[in-house]
Symmetry: C2
Subunit: 168 residues, 2 copies
């Protein structure tokens, strides 16, 4: 089971591809699509779309896991993030990936075991869970954390019985 | 000069293609892409992307005009709108259209002559300016209004002199 985690942003969009074999989680690829903030938004969205398409086509994940928008954030930043998030959801859906959304709190719970964990704690735990060096880019660590959250919490049987609604 | 005006929304995305010949503005096409709110957001974004691509490919506008996000709106609706808006900007940019954004106030000023005009007034004025029956779909009327706003206010020479920043 291979999942692409995406942490969208109009400036930096993190991604992380994680594969689960038995109980073992392995990072296949991770990184960030950085866009030039001097460019107009539509050009940056094209770069994000192209970047996600490239990662999906290189690693062929079956599923995309993406953080839900945290409304308590600054409205302006939530709006900018949502433009990038729309493009990330579109790229995933056009590639026929199943799409799952997780709240920031669920991601922290699934990786650190504590819903109010810091970004630093998420980064450390992601490196332990995936048995890899700490990702240097925070957005890549966050994307890996969403992928880990999906792989460790999603239950296809429960989803088939219609109990998956709470995950969106 | 042919412009596609877009009024994005995660439920209904209005569009209107307007052509300027001399001082005359003519509506070439207008309508709305309505998505099924029972579907997940990513499927609705695919429908919006496909719909805008279809209109662009059928009518070949050179430019897209799109409303800026009005932050004073409900945060949740601004976030939902921004997902659709990201996809609309992406579709326009991938089709190599020039993209211009206008505030709701500029659109009302350019069509009704009054920045706090009602939606009803915008609809009536759009039908008079374009010499056509009142659009029955408000989102289509709003999209036509953005296209009219662009055609009646954009000055390429000013833009070339670097004075267009205020329009974004």
């Amino acid at each position: 089971m291979k999942v692409i985690g995406i942490d969208p942003g109009s400036h930096i969009t993190g991604y992380g591809v994680v594969e689960k074999t038995g109980a073992r989680l392995v990072c296949i690829a991770s990184g960030a699509i950085e866009t030039d903030t001097a460019l107009p938004l539509e050009s940056r969205l094209c770069a994000i779309f192209a970047g996600i398409n490239e990662v999906i086509s290189a690693h062929a994940p079956e599923t995309a896991a993406i953080e839900a928008v945290f409304y308590a954030k600054n409205v302006k930043s939530a709006v900018a993030l949502s433009h990038a998030r729309g493009v990330a959801l579109l790229a995933s859906s056009l590639a026929s990936l199943g799409v799952h959304e997780y709240s920031p709190r669920s991601v922290k719970l699934a990786t650190v075991g504590y819903g109010n964990a810091t970004k630093e704690q998420v980064r450390v735990m992601v490196s332990r869970i995936l048995n890899m060096p700490e990702p240097r880019i925070q957005d890549a660590a966050d994307a890996l954390a969403v992928a880990v959250c999906h792989l460790n919490t999603w239950r296809p049987c429960a989803a088939m019985r219609g109990h998956a609604a709470g995950q969106r």
